[in-house]
């Protein structure tokens, strides 16, 4: 299975994603420069974290106009699984593949710590091996991750079960104290209508081995491997 990891100028988690996918999970991974227009036979596209174009204008605002994004949009519209992590999520929002927008964190601080994510839905290619209500311990590292959705958009996301991850306590309880950045409805990740495009602020690729403090993020990648491999759902 081939993962294409898109590299924008200023991406800095592209190699974290490469390490997790290729070296930890043993899949084929290709780093695809943003000026390319060939996804090299990708089965899955990953938009990694970082600071594409130095976060100029708004996070993700310039990256969405990169030549490769036209191909990523086509891939997504054809039903291909796309995962946007952190800055990659911001790019998906700016590109209009996912609804809503990002604000500066509520307390204006850049937050770099492990948080707890509750899996809200398991019928996406990136959560099918997780169970609803399962809590994952995964790091965040962002200054602009305070997700905003208008009341209408939020109602639509709720009704169509498109909120995929929420910030909660270690026990999976929603509480404002655990909503690290102040996001609307404690939203950490969402999917599109087709459920094949998922974006989240936390970094599952940095939580794929016990040696880095948590392997809870593996389920995101193992899910898409299972989805494409046609393996039966485990657990």
């Amino acid at each position: 299975m081939t993962f294409a990891i898109i590299v924008f100028p200023g991406s800095n988690c592209d190699h974290d994603a490469y390490h997790a996918i290729a070296e930890v999970l043993g899949q084929h991974a290709e780093l695809v420069w943003h000026k390319e227009t060939d996804l090299r036979g990708a089965d899955v596209v990953v938009l990694p974290g970082g600071f594409s174009y130095g976060d100029y204008l708004r996070s993700g605002a310039i990256a969405r106009f990169s030549p490769v994004m036209g191909r990523v949009v086509e891939f997504a519209e054809a039903g291909g699984p796309v995962l946007g992590i952190c800055n990659g999520f911001q790019v998906l929002l700016e590109a209009g593949l996912l609804p809503g927008g990002m604000r500066r964190n509520r307390d204006l601080k850049f937050i770099c710590e492990h948080v707890y994510l509750r899996v809200e839905q398991s019928d996406t290619p990136f959560t099918r091996n997780a169970s609803v209500g399962q809590v994952l311990r995964v790091p965040v590292a962002h200054g602009e991750g305070n997700y905003y959705a208008s009341p209408e958009t939020l109602a639509e996301l709720e009704a169509s079960r498109r909120i995929i991850f929420r910030y909660t306590s270690p026990d999976g309880v929603m509480d404002d104290a655990w909503n690290v950045n102040g996001s609307t409805a404690a939203i950490a990740g969402i999917c599109n209508e087709g459920r094949n495009v998922v974006g989240l602020m936390p970094h599952p690729e940095r939580a794929c081995e016990a040696t880095v403090g948590s392997s809870d993020g593996r389920v995101v990648f193992e899910s898409v491997m299972a989805a494409l491999g046609g393996l039966s759902k485990v657990g």
Partner: protein
């Protein structure tokens, strides 16, 4: 022709930077400043035959790129 674009967060969107600036101003004793909203300002040089054309182009650019209409609103002025 010069077009000026002002981008601000929509009134319904919390502006933590503006709030922090307002608090700092209160600390400095500027009690008359009751609120601050921070925004962005762009100056565009537009090659256009008329002010209407410049306004139309600058507005399109503001809507598509300079502002994120999900959270921001914008205002465009053209100087002849």
């Amino acid at each position: 022709m010069k077009a000026k674009v002002y981008v601000t967060l929509k009134p319904s969107i919390l502006d933590p930077q503006g709030k922090t600036i307002a608090q700092a101003l209160r600390t400095l004793g500027y009690d008359a400043i009751t609120d601050v909203r921070q925004g962005k300002y762009f100056e565009l040089e537009v090659a256009a035959g008329s002010a209407e054309e410049a306004l139309s182009t600058a507005s399109a650019v503001a809507d598509r790129v300079l502002a994120n209409p999900v959270i921001e609103s914008y205002r465009v002025e053209v100087e002849e």
